[in-house]
């Protein structure tokens, strides 16, 4: 564990990513403290440029863009984390069962996974949110449903790899139950791959969420980055910052998560990097 932290800290891009990510998390946590009112509240004249009365200026309704971006960080991170957690659980369960038991269980589960993979994932997410009426829950649900298949495939491969090792045969020959072998012997050996993929999935989930709310497919009472960009796009020629600033926020967050994910990958699998 100590080795892991040391290896991670030696990786400069990963540390930069981690610092940026902690910054975003800090902003998200502090948003209600610094801006106690609602981010939808009108505070001044519309279309004020950045670095005037307000750090990021105001939008076409005179709302403080700084507060909006800060509150948007809460939504993006929350949806990213929850959707990824659900998709990971689903993917690990399905991929793990398929990889461990093999045979017809594997065939059945993998065919189901393939059906999900053949549908273009963003269109599928749009469809799900549209059918279920846009809300925080339906967005999380839609993102989870479209993002578990790659995780299931990865976990299945990892389970097959570990299951064929001799130490699993040793477990079987000692008379252990399937449950014990899966949870105590195979899963810990696949954890590093799951963590790395999961961390990158958070970035994808944030992008999908931004895309959905850009199209207006999200809870209208929640301020999110995609929503601000969507609302500001009609005024792009007169007030570029309304779109540009939340766009930068998405860019920075997704990049930070990707850097951290890469760093985790290198730190958890040191042998891959050495050659």
């Amino acid at each position: 564990m100590k080795d892991f932290a040391v290896r991670f800290m030696r990786n400069r891009p990963a540390v930069v990513g981690l610092a940026l990510l902690l910054g975003v998390v800090g902003v998200a946590l502090l948003a209600p403290v610094v801006y106690p009112g609602s981010p939808f509240e009108m505070v001044g004249a519309p279309f004020q440029p950045p670095l005037g009365d307000y750090l990021f200026g105001t939008d076409m309704l005179g709302r403080n863009l700084t507060a909006a971006v800060a509150y948007g960080a809460r939504v993006s991170l929350l949806i990213g984390l929850v959707a990824t957690a659900i998709a990971t659980l689903l993917g690990v369960a399905i991929g793990g069962l398929a990889g461990y038991f093999g045979g017809w269980v594997d065939t059945l589960l993998m065919r189901v996974t393939e059906i999900f993979q053949t549908i273009p994932f963003f269109l599928f997410a749009i469809l799900l949110v549209a059918v279920l009426t846009p809300s925080l829950h339906s967005v999380v649900f839609a993102i989870s449903v479209v993002s578990w298949p790659p995780m299931a495939r990865l976990v299945r491969g990892e389970f097959i790899r570990v299951r064929s090792r001799e130490f699993i045969e040793a477990c079987v020959s000692m008379g252990m139950s399937h449950r014990r072998i899966i949870f105590l012997h195979i899963l810990p050996n696949t954890l590093s791959a799951i963590i790395v993929t999961g961390s990158l999935m958070v970035a994808t989930a944030i992008l999908i969420e931004a895309g959905l709310s850009f199209l207006g497919l999200s809870d209208a009472n929640i301020m999110s980055w995609g929503y601000i960009i969507g609302a500001g796009r009609s005024a792009l020629r007169t007030a570029w910052w309304v779109c540009a600033i939340p766009g930068m926020a998405i860019l920075v967050t997704v990049m930070a998560i990707n850097l951290v994910g890469e760093g985790l990958n290198d730190a958890l699998n040191p042998r891959l990097k050495r050659l």
Partner: protein
């Protein structure tokens, strides 16, 4: 030997540096030797002795850029190979100095026909006129005694057997008629009978073409069969070199002496334990066991290959006895071990463990019956869960079967001491131990369940000869103290001879001969057994306790 033999390669003070952070600063240090025309020089040593590094340094073939030659000279007929340009080195490779690798499957390109791969060597070196090249390839395939060269020319690597692939590799190395052939463990991946053929081929070609052969191996049996001169390496340094007869017959270095004594002899230890009483009850009785791989599936394909891994196998073991199963790869011996421990389901036959047929047990009954038969695996690196401490690995089995954790842990401590590890090992992880120590942990784990029968599947095949000897001694010791019943699977007749009371020889899924070790070794009844015994490398040389060197 012709007096006109000249020195081809002269290596002086060769030092190869390892990247910082490796377990030692130099892979090899201050190594000097020479290779003459008309001779086979064997470099012998354990894994990690740096013997392969030397061979790779000659042709500049290091796997990583971080490994560099630090000092020394490699002199090939007056030219220092360390100083020449890359282009010159490329021109020398294969034309003057050729190399044969250990793994014939990975050293050949799987998507190219054998003939094309050899032809490519001629094309790259633009040797001779293009029209005659095909004939030259056919000639060299013929020279390595591949049957039907025209067919082999158009074959892909996967269509050949392991021995044929190694012959093709040798043909590729020989096609430009080099003066020096470097062979890096060329027979290690092969079965004994194939190994014997390849060794004979190397010897024949070396004589015919008057080459110098640098032969790298860890196996003293092979050395005894093939070497004219020997270089013994240990931890990157040459500890002894000289004529084969002298090094094998009267070794000067202690290390060589220890190595030679560790090679198991070919004469059964006629001990008191061999008199295992026939009155003891049978622990295991297997009859009519069959297993076929390649099931037809839902839509049977025509011509799908079905392999009879086990074909009507029957055997029995009495309490306190050690039965050895020997055979080459593909003989079904590992499948037999896995059927008996029910890791694989047999198609037919019965397995009686203490008179209970374990092939018909249900899930739950089977799970509790499993503790009666425990297995030790071949691969010391793959058979221990890397994420668990040694203590929990050993204690887990009994805990699963209902022993109180505190009791299981104290038992684990006793067992680790029994196999020669101290109690501090409990809290450490498998990667902190060497191969031999890991096999000890594997043994402790199996013993923790107090099984009625212990199945050992090639337990020492992955170990160096010194460690192998220690583990075999430990096994003998534990067996005597606990009165264990053992099924010992191995491909190595030398090992089988030292460990087993009775022996069964397997070929293509069938037991062709079985009986007491002394009888099978001195009067083999079946032709295949005789063939196996004749192929054991270094038969003429006395090793181990027979040699009387101590």
């Amino acid at each position: 030997m012709t007096p006109a033999s000249q020195t081809l390669l002269r290596i002086e003070g060769l030092t190869i540096d390892l990247p910082p952070g490796a377990d030692r600063p130099h892979a090899v240090q201050d190594v000097s030797f020479h290779l003459d025309q008309d001779e086979i020089l064997c470099i012998v040593g354990e894994s990690g002795s740096g013997k392969s590094m030397v061979s790779r340094a000659i042709l500049g073939l290091f796997a990583s850029r971080q490994i560099k030659v630090g000092a020394g000279r490699i002199d090939f007929k007056g030219e220092d190979l360390l100083g020449v340009s890359d282009a010159r080195l490329r021109a020398l490779r294969t034309r003057h100095i050729a190399m044969v690798f250990q793994e014939p499957m990975t050293a050949l390109n799987p998507v190219m026909k054998i003939g094309q791969q050899i032809l490519e060597v001629l094309d790259v070196h633009a040797d001779g006129d293009p029209g005659g090249r095909r004939q030259r390839v056919l000639d060299v395939l013929d020279a390595v005694h591949l049957p039907d060269p025209a067919r082999i020319f158009d074959a892909y690597p996967h269509q050949l057997s392991g021995g044929q692939r190694q012959r093709a590799m040798i043909a590729m190395a020989l096609v430009l008629e080099p003066e020096v052939l470097i062979a890096d463990e060329p027979t290690t991946a092969l079965d004994v009978t194939t190994q014997a053929q390849i060794l004979a081929l190397v010897r024949e070609i070396q004589r015919k073409r008057r080459m110098g052969v640098l032969f790298i191996t860890h196996d003293f049996g092979v050395v005894a069969d093939i070497a004219d001169r020997i270089v013994v390496m240990q931890r990157g340094q040459v500890v002894e070199q000289g004529a084969a007869r002298e090094v094998l017959g009267a070794p000067r270095a202690d290390y060589t002496r220890t190595l030679l004594a560790a090679v198991p002899g070919l004469h059964p230890v006629s001990s008191a334990q061999a008199a295992s009483p026939a009155a003891q009850p049978e622990v295991l009785r297997v009859s009519g066991l069959c297993k076929t791989y390649g099931t037809p599936g839902l839509l049977p394909r025509r011509g799908a290959r079905r392999v009879h891994a086990l074909n009507d196998v029957s055997l029995s073991i009495r309490r306190g006895e050690t039965l050895g199963i020997v055979g080459e790869s593909g003989s079904g011996k590992s499948t037999l071990a896995r059927c008996i421990t029910r890791l694989v389901d047999p198609d037919a036959g019965e397995i009686l463990l203490n008179d209970v047929d374990i092939t018909t047990l249900g899930q739950r009954a089977l799970r509790s019956a499993r503790r009666r038969m425990q297995m030790v695996f071949q691969d010391p690196y793959g058979s221990l869960n890397p994420r668990k401490t040694v203590g929990s690995l050993v204690a887990e089995g009994p805990i699963v079967h209902g022993t109180a954790p505190a009791q299981a842990w104290s038992r684990a401590r006793e067992l680790l001491e029994l196999v020669g590890l101290d109690a501090r090992a409990l809290d450490r992880f498998p990667h902190e131990f060497s191969g031999g120590q890991r096999q000890r942990i594997g043994l402790a784990r199996a013993l923790a369940l107090e099984p009625d029968i212990l199945v050992l599947d090639e337990p020492v095949s992955a170990l160096d000869v010194l460690v192998q000897e220690q583990v075999l001694q430990l096994l003998a010791d534990v067996r005597r103290r606990l009165g264990l019943t053992v099924l010992f699977i191995t491909h190595d007749l030398r090992v089988a001879c030292q460990v087993c009371d009775r022996i069964a020889v397997m070929r293509r899924g069938e037991i062709v001969e079985s009986g007491p070790v002394a009888q099978v070794f001195s009067q083999p009844a079946h032709g295949y057994t005789r063939e196996l015994l004749a192929a054991v490398p270094g038969r003429g040389q006395a090793f181990g306790r027979e040699a009387g060197v101590a």
